[in-house]
């Protein structure tokens, strides 16, 4: 989508009349570039044709885009001829800052400027700046069988697995393309045959905390280890909450690039093991010891420089639980809690924000910690040893120079007070 290209051997997809017209430039340069990009991707994966999609969700923080990506967006947004706006509801993943608290984060002005330029370009393209990775809890959950083009691996795995919707991982350029064309190549998890289980996991223990749900997701993600694998999991003894499945799926996607799982008797496509072909697969048992081993592998240092609740953004009731733990405490190290612009007003209204901040924490909105120049804010604030209850976050932050540690929300709040993980 970046510019001119020769579709060459990749142009093997069956195209409808409208798609041929778009590629011929009859709707303008922006839709043409978008569809050309989609044809290249679809051709690589052997997609036979396109499938209409009803929603798109774009991951596009500026740490990922960089100056080059923002300039590319601005060029699209400045296009005068033809159609340049999205055709379907198209929303955004968290931004790289909370504009009201960028100084507190230690972000430089150029980072915030780049964010503002990206926002302005997206608005011109007709994108709704929801800035959330929990749109399935806050904006508009996809429904069973609904074809969508979602970015953010946590959004995709939740929507595919818990909602029964159909999406591949759509990176920013591809999700924007889907918004602009209203379709996506029909491959991967849009197809029935790709949604069958390929790995059968039996657990003998049901997690009780969000960090352990995340750790279990991480263990299963490592076992599966490949986008095309679909774990089916037996042995969960109750219906998990949306927040538990949020952490479970986000970690599985992060550790293993997994986009779809089934929980027998719980998720919509696996009422029975046989619904997804699981009965024919050998059983791989996962015990509590493996989950504890994953958690222990991050327990490197008792001292903590910063406590972070993020990735995914917190729901209203995660913030309520956090507020309950903050009452009567006084933090000695920074505690950051990150939520969506949809949840934040209710957290303010219900007093959760005030209670967290009275203890010395800060509630951020519309960003995600690791998408907010994590390396630079670590250097600006002297943060290295980080405690979190997000298994996804500990998996990511090692690459940014942090020593991340995984603990329960309660343990993390205690660490914010004492500076040490008990």
């Amino acid at each position: 989508m970046a510019g001119e290209s020769n579709l060459g051997l990749h142009a093997l997809m069956r195209l409808g009349e409208e798609e041929k017209a778009i590629l011929a430039g009859e709707q303008g340069e922006v839709p043409r570039l978008a569809l050309e990009h989609q044809v290249k991707v679809g051709g690589f994966f052997g997609a036979e044709d396109f499938v209409p999609v009803t929603q798109a969700h774009i991951m596009a923080d500026t740490e990922s885009l960089g100056e080059a990506g923002v300039r590319w967006l601005e060029k699209l947004a400045a296009t005068k001829e033809g159609r340049r706006t999205v055709r379907i509801p198209t929303i955004t993943d968290p931004r790289g800052t909370d504009f009201t608290k960028s100084k507190q984060l230690g972000q430089a002005d150029w980072m915030v400027d780049l964010e503002r330029r990206a926002v302005a370009a997206f608005v011109k393209l007709g994108v709704s700046m929801t800035d959330t990775c929990i749109n399935y809890q806050t904006v508009l959950a996809a429904t069973r069988g609904e074809h969508v083009a979602f970015g953010d691996t946590g959004v995709v795995i939740y929507s595919n697995s818990v909602c029964g919707a159909r999406s591949n991982f759509e990176g920013g350029p591809s999700a924007l393309s889907a918004g602009l064309t209203g379709r996506t190549p029909r491959y991967g998890f849009h197809l029935d045959e790709r949604r069958r289980a390929t790995i059968r996991i039996r657990v003998d223990w049901t997690p009780a905390t969000l960090n352990d749900w995340g750790a279990l997701g991480g263990v299963i993600g490592r076992i599966a280890g490949n986008y095309w694998e679909v774990p089916v999991i037996e042995g969960i003894d109750r219906a998990p909450s949306s927040d538990e499945l949020k952490h479970f799926g986000a970690a599985m996607a992060s550790f293993g690039s997994i986009a779809l799982f089934h929980l027998v008797g719980i998720t919509p496509e696996a009422s029975r093991l046989s619904d997804v072909g699981g009965e024919a697969l050998p059983v791989r048992r996962v015990g509590r010891d493996e989950v504890q081993a994953l958690r222990q592998s991050y327990a490197i240092d008792e001292r903590v420089d910063v406590v972070v609740f993020s990735a995914p953004q917190l729901s209203l009731f995660e913030l309520r639980a956090l507020a309950d733990l903050c009452d009567g405490r006084r933090f000695t190290v920074p505690l950051l809690a990150v939520t969506s612009p949809q949840v934040k007003p209710d957290a303010d209204r219900f007093g959760y924000t005030q209670r967290i901040e009275a203890a010395g924490g800060t509630v951020y909105s519309g960003m995600c910690f690791y998408q907010s120049y994590a390396r630079e804010i670590a250097e600006a604030n002297g943060w290295k040893r980080l405690a979190t209850n997000s298994a996804k976050l500990v998996n990511i932050l090692g690459g940014y120079g942090y020593v991340p540690m995984l603990a329960s929300m309660e343990e993390c709040v205690g660490a914010a007070e004492t500076g040490r993980l008990a």
């Binding site: 052997g46 080059a68 690039s257 940014y400």
Partner: protein, 134 residues
């Protein structure tokens, strides 16, 4: 005599260069210091090694949709790999390669990370879906 491996999926321009090989995954966001141009995640088998201008030969693409933007951004700063070769690839890296015009091969009948020696000179020809060890 050179050896040729044939992939099932291919994209991009014909290139040749030095292979950087590991039986490990790849995510531009999780694994790299993109400013310095080196692998930076401590647990990665290539930690500390430069990927700039190299032909990466790796097991699979890992989570993180950011890689779809990052290959383009890295290429504009001349900090991108020359090509990426996977046993198995996820859509994000393919989308990133399409957006950033980075050559890519995936899907072999054998383990490409075992077949290609680290440091070998290789030629990638997407039109023929081939990797030639020179």
């Amino acid at each position: 005599m050179s050896r040729v491996l044939v992939a099932s999926q291919a994209m991009g321009a014909k290139v040749s260069g030095v292979a950087l090989v590991a039986k490990d995954g790849f995510s531009a966001r999780y694994d790299l210091d993109r400013i310095a141009g080196v692998f930076s995640r401590p647990a990665h088998k290539l930690v500390g090694r430069s990927y700039v201008g190299k032909i990466l030969v790796l097991e699979t693409a890992k989570g993180g949709v950011a890689s779809a933007w990052m290959l383009y951004e890295m290429r504009t700063r001349d900090k991108a790999p020359l090509a990426i070769v996977f046993n198995s690839v996820n859509p994000i890296l393919v989308q990133g390669a399409a957006f950033g015009d980075v050559t890519m091969l995936a899907g072999f009948d054998e383990d490409v990370t075992a077949a290609v020696p680290d440091g070998a000179r290789v030629e990638i020809d997407p039109a023929a879906k081939s990797l030639r060890i020179l």
